[in-house]
Structure formats: C-alpha cells, structure tokens
Symmetry: C2
Subunit: 134 residues, 2 copies
C-alpha cells in the first residue's frame, strides 16, 4: 500500500516522519496555487454526500476501521460503495489494507487534523472592528 | 441579501439566532443523509483550487472582507473570479454586500467554525487498541 497520497497534506521531516500540516489556516493568508491544489483535492473528495456518509461511517466505526461489509447501509450498491471508498483513498483521506477476503479502510487522523487546521478561524490582519462605512 | 444558505450548516434557535453547528464531528457517528447533503455542499465549494485561493484571499484580507478588485491575482479573468465568488456565496461560505460599484465579500466565521468542528478528531467507540485480528 502506498502512503504517498495519504501524506499529501502533510510535510515530512528528513527521517520520513510526519511533521506539520502543509497549509496554514485559510484565514491566515492567501493560499498559493500549490497549497490550493493539495487542499482542494481533499475537500473535493468530501464534497459528495454518499462519500461523506461513508467517510463518517468508517471514521466512527468500532476500532477506527471498517470494511465494505460493515458500512453498506447508505442506500447505494456495494460496488458503488467500493468505488467511493477508492476515491477517498486516492484523495489521501483513507488508508486501506487487505485481510483475507476484505479490504479494511481506516481514516488517516493526521490528515483529518490538517484539514481541521485549515478551517481554524484566525483574526485576519486589520480585522479589529466593523469594516463597513460608518 | 438572503442568509438562508449561509446558515445551512447551523441550527437556529427559536428567536432566529444561531445556536450550535448542525453536524457532529465526522468521527463521532455515521452521518445521516440530510447531514451529509448539507456538509457536502460546503466541502464541494472548497473542492476547487481557484475557489479555495479566492476563499483564502477573502478570509485573510484586511478588514475580513474583499471585493473582486482586491483579489484578482489568481490567474483567471475577473468574470471567472466573480463566478467562483458567487459559487462560494451560494454554498453559504461567503456573505456579500453591494456598496456603490463593488460587491464586497466576507467569510461567515460561524460556518467556518462549524466546518472545522466536522473535522475534529474524536476517538470512536471501541478504539482502544489495535483492531486487527489477533
């Protein structure tokens, strides 16, 4: 299993361990084109209701992981479930591991934390009062 | 200006004030179809690199707001900038106000905070150790 995409939103230290998230909070400064490409890929993957339900089903499942057999109650066929899980994996939000018949999916907590950091509200420069005309 | 969509991710109290975010953290329990519809709309709006750059440009701009004239340096035409800003507004992430010639955009901090909460990492039930078969 490759973790290359899983770690797309994270910087790696020289020893290969994950260091800090790649992108600052969205409210801190304008994103560069590269930062926006990386972060938009993650948001896009969560921008579908079925994928979002599957993602929360995996994320909240007992043990922190789930296989297709555990989370097929979202009103779509099992092949469709598998398709969406693969999309989430390709976007780096889930990691997967095959064990026997089933592929098990697990949320990457560091990636989730990095996305949460993007959405942290920080007071931008100059926001000290009402900005409209008096 | 209508705030109906702006508040889509938030619950309203009886007196019309904003109370708590609509959705729990993604890791807390599986999302319902309705919760997923609401939250996915927001994520989808941020799932485009140009929109994400524009969003961060508005969010981090002096005074917490910006007009098209302030944030046109993302490599696309001004009509395209306006188009994307409208998409962000339709998704409830930006509010807008016309003043003279220009429309000013402002991030909805409560919506941003609600999205950040979605991505909060909480330990799911039963995640107390390795989950694989012994």
């Amino acid at each position: 299993m490759s973790n290359t995409r899983v770690l797309a939103l994270l910087d790696s230290a020289d020893d290969g361990t994950v260091a800090a998230p790649c992108c600052p909070p969205l409210t801190e400064r304008p994103f560069s084109a590269e930062e926006a490409e990386t972060a938009a890929r993650m948001f896009k993957a969560l921008g579908d209701p079925v994928r979002l339900r599957l993602f929360s089903a995996v994320a909240s499942h007992e043990g922190g992981e789930a296989c297709v057999c555990d989370i097929s109650d979202v009103g779509v066929s099992q092949p469709t479930v598998s398709h969406h899980l693969k999309k989430l994996k390709d976007a780096g939000l889930l990691a997967s591991e095959r064990r026997g018949t089933w592929v098990y999916y697990r949320v990457e907590p560091a990636v989730l934390a990095a996305m949460g950091r993007l959405l942290t509200v920080t007071p931008p420069v100059g926001r000290q009062g009402p900005a409209g005309p008096a």
